[in-house]
Symmetry: C2
Subunit: 194 residues, 2 copies
């Protein structure tokens, strides 16, 4: 009996991410996935289920990577506010160069969130984690004094998460790096002690 | 010779907007449009060109309406800051009730902006107008003192536009009205005189 070719499941999943990111869920064909992932159609179905299951898994991995990257930068210091500024400015600088793909998470929300409970649930989990990570950084900044002590850290975390989403949409819409840097600077300024 | 049934062009265009808004460009079929617009397929092509031309026209009308509504609220006072607060809070409150459709403009950016120059150009026009309208309100608030005089009004306008986009994405992702009110309150707070 023929044995299916072995492949690295995680590696195959990683290769599906840029396809969904660029083309969206509806715009991605099984053929696109098979080509990018370097596996056969049957292996795809056997390993990941259908296109929707694969999309949800890719989105979960993408979101987890995004929050992990932000968490890492927030821990790199030197202060909480400087680290937050770096997260925002890097998003603005990333705008230079190629046309923005935007954010796969934001794209997925816009394309699917209204009718897809799983996309919403998965996004809510990731948003709650991002909010907690940002809140921790803000609390640390408040206790050290680089962020205003009078600031409500939960509200500020929600606000920063909205700013990140908004900047991603603006970047994809073609906003200049200068305009995005303005947004980043204003958001950072709003956290400083008064 | 049979004469095509007369219809109101603008009314037909208005009826296409909710279809594209809900289903996106790729997800909308000509059949969906014909049904919603109450016109025949041939009238649709004769009057609006193809689906893409109709989509661009619908998006332009949607964006123009959105900016006009914000402009109207900003002029309603009583102060510039109070009016800005109302624009943001109304967006947060609109979250209650039915599942959010999000914003057709943001949806269009996420679905199409990377590869569609016309969607990007049309979005840039509308974003520049929104920025100018917000900047005027901020300048007025600065001169009257309800907004901090030290604030860079162009940066603040870009920041508010990013906040609006971010809140729309969060609303569609299922954020609570409470979380959105936090974002609105924080953004407003950042404009106050220090």
């Amino acid at each position: 009996m023929a044995r299916p070719k072995e492949f690295d499941r995680d590696e195959a999943l990683r290769r599906a991410i840029p396809v969904f990111w660029e083309k969206g869920f509806a715009g991605t064909s099984t053929e696109d996935l098979v080509r990018a992932m370097g596996i056969g159609r049957q292996s795809l179905y056997d390993t990941f289920g259908d296109k929707r299951r694969l999309f949800l898994e890719a989105l979960r991995a993408y979101n987890a990577d995004g929050v992990a990257a932000i968490m890492k930068r927030l821990r790199a210091g030197p202060t909480a506010l400087a680290a937050i500024e770096r997260v925002l400015v890097e998003l603005a600088e990333a705008r230079d160069g190629a046309r923005s793909l935007g954010c796969m998470g934001v794209n997925a929300v816009c394309e699917l969130a209204r009718d897809d409970d799983e996309v919403r649930a998965l996004t809510a989990t990731s948003a709650a984690l991002l909010e907690a990570v940002l809140k921790d950084a803000i609390d640390e900044g408040r206790s050290r004094g680089d962020i205003g002590r009078g600031i409500d850290s939960r509200a500020a975390a929600r606000f920063l998460a909205a700013t990140l989403s908004g900047m991603k949409v603006q970047a994809k819409a073609g906003a200049s790096a200068e305009a995005l840097r303005d947004v980043a600077a204003f958001a950072v300024q709003s956290l400083r002690p008064r």
